[in-house]
Symmetry: C2
Subunit: 343 residues, 2 copies
């Protein structure tokens, strides 16, 4: 594990308690238990490799932020029945399916602190079990009986796949810019956050304005979340987040911290970035520390986090349509948590 310089993250006043996702988790705790039961029930298959492989990733946890958002959105809309549980499980299945395929495509070896499924079982079952989870997600949607829910989640799934292909196309290509990067993270991350929130209003049969507000909320939160993730990849400790620090760097992935450091760098730095990103397989040991140093010199991480805060603000604004109260507060705090976890 590389030790990263995290001093650049330490700029927040010490007094305020750190925002947390726990208030939201506490508010929907019973629902979330039902979601977890649903997830386990729906992974079942006579083909035992399927639940084995799927549960390796699902049991490893992760924050379950997407299903939490679906439950929170449904609660915010005053939904009183039980289909939001199916939807939340469905959203987590879509997410899990994309993680399985992501790890194959990125040849990742660690996720959530564990060896990835592709390392433990190989690429072949990871691809196929990903497919299986994805079909299960659609079966769950069908059970909600809402064509509008299906339209939204099928659209989001399609956008995710499109974003993943785009990310692959621009990988290692230092001529791609911020516009393309934003397109990628909107598609691969924000689309599912937006859909996860929006369906809460749809299932509760609320007016279009509320569905749209929750869509905006999720969309902006999703962008903020991914920006922070991309910043963390250049700073956090792999043991803490269960993600390898420097993964993006070693894969030559184009993320905002790289684009910012590149844009502000002199010619020698630009040459450095082209070399390490375009031919990541030729990276030397010292390149990682050099990359961190260039980022610090140009405040690339701070600038990435500032952008995340900007989107976080937009997410906060979108909540304005809803009545004040514990649920809205918890959803708002989830935004701050998504951003401040970097600090």
């Amino acid at each position: 594990m590389q030790t990263a310089s995290i001093s650049q993250f330490d700029s927040r006043p010490a007094a305020k308690p750190a925002p947390s996702i726990e208030p939201l988790r506490a508010l929907v705790a019973n629902d979330m238990d039902a979601v977890n039961r649903e997830i386990i029930a729906r992974m079942a298959s006579d083909v035992s490799l399927i639940p084995e492989l799927a549960s390796h990733l699902i049991a490893a946890g992760g924050k379950r932020i997407r299903p939490l958002l679906t439950l929170g959105a449904a609660r915010l809309c005053g939904y009183g029945s039980d289909k939001h549980v199916l939807l939340a499980a469905c959203v987590e299945f879509i997410h899990t399916a994309t993680l399985l395929h992501d790890d194959v495509v990125d040849e990742s070896d660690r996720r959530r602190g564990n060896a990835t499924a592709n390392v433990l079982w190989g690429n072949q079952p990871s691809v196929l079990v990903g497919d299986f989870l994805f079909t299960r997600a659609f079966q769950l949607m069908v059970e909600t009986g809402s064509l509008e829910v299906l339209r939204i989640l099928a659209g989001a799934s399609s956008e995710i796949a499109e974003g993943e292909v785009l990310q692959l196309v621009i990988a290692n290509d230092m001529t791609s810019g911020e516009a393309e990067y934003l397109k990628v993270i909107k598609a691969k991350t924000a689309a599912l956050f937006a859909a996860a929130c929006r369906v809460g209003a749809v299932i509760a049969d609320r007016p279009l304005a509320e569905a749209q507000a929750l869509d905006d909320f999720g969309h902006n939160l999703g962008i903020a979340f991914q920006l922070v993730d991309d910043a963390l990849d250049y700073a956090s400790d792999g043991a803490t987040l269960g993600k390898n620090t420097g993964d993006d760097f070693r894969e030559g992935k184009i993320t905002l911290p790289v684009l910012l450091a590149f844009a502000k760098g002199n010619e020698a730095e630009k040459d450095f970035w082209r070399r390490v990103i375009e031919r990541p397989e030729e990276q030397a040991e010292a390149d990682w520390q050099q990359a961190l140093a260039y980022m610090e010199r140009h405040g690339a991480i701070q600038e990435t986090l500032a952008r995340a805060r900007h989107y976080g603000q937009k997410a906060h604004q979108a909540l304005g349509l809803f009545a004040p109260g514990a649920v809205r507060d918890a959803m708002a705090e989830a935004v701050d948590f998504a951003i401040e976890r970097a600090l």
Copy 2:
């Protein structure tokens, strides 16, 4: 390309003209043109790699037997609107998505006479474009506005994925038997044939009995189709079918011809099958001809084709519920075509 002994296939009286899928194709020709336009329109994406890669496989043709069946089933049910076109395109997208993932999983290098997408573009885009096509399929389903259609096709998709995992689990395992083989082909092939036919009755709003009859028809046709495919892998010429003869053998795939030859073989033959199937990477040049000779000795191909005819008969019977006429005749002939293409 290996030259295969095809003498064992030549047992049909010479007089009768070969059954053909052309009558069905002619009956739904206009609809099929609409399906092809829909397919091209729905592959579109700003991410140009998506239509490039998808059209490589889709343009290469193949028989489009699944969408033909959907169109035929809708016609048989007297359907008069245009949603069957969406459904047929959707069924072909599901099929294409599974082919893309199959070729990655099997490490295939040829399909429909061309190099596979995974060879031309690599595994990563093949996985992701497969995902994309799959999501597009669901978007098409949503547009039909029928939750029952979604239920059927989501269920079939899930069964396919489950079957693919099972196939992977029992690959190279000579202790797996006919029961497991049948389970695999029912899931990976018959499920989509059954769904492709059934949705024709659903979209036409016909009684459950007709939906069930078309389901039975497609299910049995699908099993017959796969049995013949598995027989052809040990006989046909790669240049004709666009599939490498001997692919299954080289991958150590357990198919019925192998299971039958193994069951009827003496101890030396059993040792041979265990060696070539369990450790296909150690196969020698002469093993392929040896395998063909053992199969011929025990009539393994003929027996596989006899089983296919048995399922074909069941498919014919399922059509009995429908009024006689050109459409029913064409659907019946499609069954015979699926079987007799082996001769």
